[in-house]
């Protein structure tokens, strides 16, 4: 959806999305751009929303976890994360799924090494890295038509 917002100059993109839009799927983890829990896609690219000023996202397409899937069906990544058990506490999950989406948009058939590198900036303290890799690999093998390209931004 398109949404016009008035934001404070100092507000981070994460604060605006969570506090002003009430979209709380992205989490604050480290507050210094290393853990990936706050990952959002800005014009399709993953960013750490804790460390991006909201004003810098002016005019951009912002995708949050809430905007993934078509409202009726989960995104294949969401399905695969559940199938392989790619989460435990779930605090890192929205960040991982969005990072994985950006990866697959950029490299539809990634190698294991590419996956590992691309998600390298996301932490899962519960330790589901193996399951996360499996889930992403599963979706990467899906036929093109089953990986929806365009989502309605949050």
């Amino acid at each position: 959806m398109d949404r016009a917002l008035e934001v404070e100059a100092r507000s981070s993109l994460l604060e605006v999305v969570r506090e002003q839009l009430g979209l709380t799927g992205a989490k604050l983890g480290c507050d210094m751009q290393v853990c990936g829990a706050c990952t959002l896609l800005v014009n399709g690219k993953p960013v750490s929303a804790c460390s991006v000023l909201a004003v810098d996202a002016d005019g951009c397409d912002v995708l949050t976890i809430e905007g993934l899937g078509d409202g009726k069906k989960h995104h294949p990544l969401q399905e695969a994360f559940m199938e392989f058990g790619a989460l435990q506490c779930g605090y890192c999950t929205s960040g991982f799924i969005l990072t994985a989406k950006a990866l697959l948009d950029e490299f539809p058939r990634p190698t294991a090494e590419q996956i590992k590198n691309y998600i390298g900036g996301n932490f899962c303290r519960c330790g589901c890295y193996q399951e996360i890799m499996q889930a992403i690999k599963k979706v990467a093998r899906l036929p093109e038509s089953e990986t929806p390209k365009i989502e309605d931004g949050g």
Binding site: E66, F123, C126
Partner: protein
């Protein structure tokens, strides 16, 4: 039905993958203010003067709490703590560690609260700080606590524990078996080693947080990120002098716990602020503040072991010094658990163990997945390989030779049951092809890289005695609701409990809801920790479901006139000689309408004595093993974990995928503890309280394979034979890796973490650098 099946979808998953699961930081209460905490910049200082007048002048500030507020308020006992009451809501006389809370502020906006903190004037007189356990033990060392207040009601397993008066020893746990001097005299060889581990941090991605609301009647409602809401309820009841019925603790999903969210953290101050502000207050700790709130005990472990020529262990003397920081927290129990397991999972006739938690001017240390045992296991499993190497024995063989088996006597003298140690050890050895030399390959032999394999195993106890109660409601449509105090913090407890109730009642998972934790609604549960929930709460839920079935049976007997012995439960229906009934029909018959509820109860109480009145240290035992294959770059000391196998005696896997997640997840956390994690102090200041400088395991650190292996030796008292497994797999990781490093390059690392520079320097020392 749903026990042991692979394709069980967890009940919490859809909410979590869609971003709709509510965690505490996602919640807002109407009228909510924001709280911030002023913290000590010194490791040890006396507070001479505090003046908060200017803080109150900041627009938007609604309340400030300093020692003046809590000391003069007759409705507040400022002292609290799970074992000793040595913590205060804010500092009253002295600050005892960097980051110790000095004042709290609540304001309409977070920015105003932050501004107000700057305006609080505090005058300190710096005092000499104790920053090391050895300094803390010196004669004449300044004391952290001159007097210790005991709580009104303590934990049953810690009733005898007292600090050693006039010292900084918070707890001194002693374990004696046989005659250790005689044992050493009978030994062919004696090994003496010292091992150390640094303080580490749980690093859950969700920081501690709390929302508190105090209504006009003094009733306290708290939303908290706690793992043990009933302990928090007791503590708040004591601090604010109200009955527990007037304290309500609600816990949403947690973004990880790992032991770092047990016992009161930010709740007492948040409630004090909410009471003064007469508005709800929310405090969310920053990442940095988490490092000042709770850590894992650093330890220095001296271990002396006597063995026979054939590798039989004869005697062990061990001293475990645990740095418990400025407050006891749950350190006394950590010392106890460390002490119990310092002899390892081995039969040793003569044992003398002294395990101490010691006060220092550092942030408090408390529960951390593994709870004292990852400390002692680092020592006993490293030394086991030192012994094996000296005797030219296979590390696998020496473990199998001495390892506990069913029915053996534990160091306390009790008989061990449910002991799947050897199957775990053998399974991990097989998984990494133990005995096969990876260096024989040409490319390895001719490079600077050396490969090695290492193995380690463990035993741990769960908190005993303890209590878990559960209620299961059967609704009028035949669906069921579970009321249990177990916190869903990622381990999948909601699903496990639902599977157990579902199996017992024959109701599918889609018709079962777990309420979530609210101390006003769910019955008492001691804690979600000590890997106890599946065993204890699982059993309580099973008993509650059985209670429902008994009630259904009685109704059928009364209403249909069928003898009880002819009533049979088959897949969620009741089979009678002539017909089969749905639960729904039976409820209709009972209540005369499509309404009404059956309420089933289940209670589990574990004891410190078995049926024959003999001592029992643990309701069940954790057994597990890990095996690592590593590659070491001899030029730089850099270590790469190639493969890791972890096996745990799970009793019975109720949710096998969930079990494998716990095993692999704990192994990865163990990797962090083994290879990178370390809180670094400089004169009492934490210099790396953030995720840039405190290094966590990331996707790039993963080995090719982490293989979780479930060993199922059914426990006769667990639900469907299940045991708890949350901590087990973490414990062997560090020694398994250190042992693999020794196997690869012949250097022994005795101090965690196993960093490249330590290997590099050790290689230089032994002249093995290329």
């Amino acid at each position: 039905m749903t026990i042991g099946e692979e394709n069980v979808r967890r009940l919490d998953y859809e909410a979590k993958v869609t971003g709709r699961a509510n965690y505490l930081a996602d919640m807002k209460i109407p009228g909510m203010c924001h709280g911030k905490i002023l913290r000590s910049p010194f490791p040890h200082a006396r507070i001479l003067r505090i003046n908060a007048a200017n803080a109150l002048k900041v627009p938007g500030v609604v309340a400030v709490i300093t020692r003046d507020d809590i000391l003069k308020d007759e409705g507040i006992d400022p002292y609290y703590g799970p074992v000793f009451k040595d913590q205060t809501i804010v500092a009253v006389d002295r600050v005892r560690h960097v980051g110790d809370p000095v004042a709290g502020v609540a304001a309409l906006e977070l920015e105003a609260a932050e501004e107000a903190l700057q305006r609080i004037e505090v005058e300190y007189e710096e005092l000499p700080a104790i920053l090391d356990v050895h300094d803390a033990l010196k004669k004449g060392a300044p004391l952290l606590h001159e007097t210790i207040r005991l709580p009104e009601s303590g934990f049953a397993d810690l009733a005898e524990i007292r600090p050693v008066e006039g010292t900084n020893i918070c707890t001194h746990f002693k374990l004696r078996k046989g005659d250790v001097e005689k044992g050493f005299a009978e030994s062919d060889y004696i090994f003496e080693d010292t091992f150390t581990l640094p303080a580490t941090q749980h690093s859950f991605l969700e920081t501690h947080a709390c929302i508190a609301l105090v209504d006009g009647s003094g009733r306290i409602t708290v939303w908290s990120t706690t793992q043990n809401p009933f302990v928090v309820r007791t503590q708040l009841s004591n601090i604010f002098k109200v009955p527990v019925a007037k304290v309500r603790v609600i816990v949403p999903y947690l973004g990880g716990g790992y032991g770092g969210k047990v016992y009161p953290k930010v709740e007492p101050l948040t409630v004090a602020l909410a009471g003064k502000a007469q508005r709800p207050v929310r405090i969310i700790l920053t990442r940095e503040e988490v490092f000042y709130t709770i850590t894992k005990h650093a330890a220095v472990i001296k271990m002396k072991t006597g063995v026979k020529k054939d590798g039989t262990l004869v005697a062990r003397e061990c001293e475990v010094l645990l740095d418990t920081g400025a407050y006891a927290e749950i350190g006394p129990r950590v010392a106890k658990k460390s002490g119990y397991t310092a002899a390892g999972p081995y039969r040793i006739p003569h044992v003398k163990i002294d395990s101490m938690s010691i006060y220092t001017n550092k942030p408090p240390a408390g529960a951390f997945r593994g709870f004292g045992v990852s400390q002692s296991a680092w020592a006993h499993e490293s030394q086991m390989d030192i012994i094996a190497a000296a005797l030219h024995m296979d590390p696998l063989e020496i473990r199998l030779k001495n390892g506990y088996e069913e029915g053996n006597e534990f160091v306390t003298g009790e008989k061990l049951t449910g002991i799947g140690l050897k199957p775990c050890v053998e399974a991990v050895a097989r998984a990494i092809e133990w005995g096969k030399d990876e260096n024989s390959k040409f490319e390895i032999r001719n490079s600077n890289f050396k490969r090695g394999k290492g193995i380690a195993c463990m035993i741990k106890a769960t908190i005993t005695p303890s209590v878990s109660s559960a209620v299961v409601k059967l609704n009028e449509d035949g669906s069921a609701t579970i009321y249990a105090g177990t916190i869903e913090m990622g381990q999948g407890s909601e699903t496990t409990l639902a599977q157990i109730a579902g199996k017992e009642l024959g109701v599918p998972l889609v018709k079962i809801q777990v309420l979530g934790v609210d101390t006003d609604a769910v019955p008492y549960d001691l804690t979600t920790s000590s890997s106890r929930s599946t065993f204890h709460m699982g059993k309580a839920v099973q008993l509650a479901a059985e209670d429902i079935k008994n009630q259904l049976k009685q109704i059928v007997v009364q209403e249909y006139g069928i003898p009880a012995e002819n009533v049979e439960f088959v897949e969620g229906r009741i089979r009678l000689p002539e017909t089969t009934l749905d639960y729904k029909e039976v409820l209709f018959k009972r209540f005369g309408m499509q309404g009404g509820t059956l309420v089933g109860q289940g209670h589990v109480k574990t004891k410190v004595t078995d049926r024959e009145g003999r001592k029992t240290t643990s309701a069940f035992w954790f057994l597990g093993a890990g095996a690592a294959q590593v590659e070491v770059d001899c030029e730089t000391g850099k270590i790469k974990l190639l493969k890791y196998a972890t096996a745990v005696d799970v009793g019975k896997a109720i949710n096998p995928l969930g079990c494998r997640q716990q095993l692999a997840g704990a192994a990865i956390m163990g990797m962090g503890q083994a290879l990178f994690e370390e809180i670094v102090f400089d004169n009492g200041q934490v210099i790396n309280p953030n995720f840039v400088d405190y290094v966590l395991p990331a996707p790039g650190d993963m080995p090719e394979v982490i293989e979780p292996i479930l060993v199922e030796i059914p426990h006769k008292e667990g639900p469907f034979g299940a045991k708890g497994i949350g901590e087990t797999a973490l414990i062997p990781v560090a020694p398994a890796i250190a042992n693999a490093v020794f196997d690869a390059v012949g250097v022994r690392i005795r101090d965690l973490p196993i960093k490249a520079e330590k290997i590099f320097l050790a290689l230089e020392e032994v002249g093995k650098k290329p």
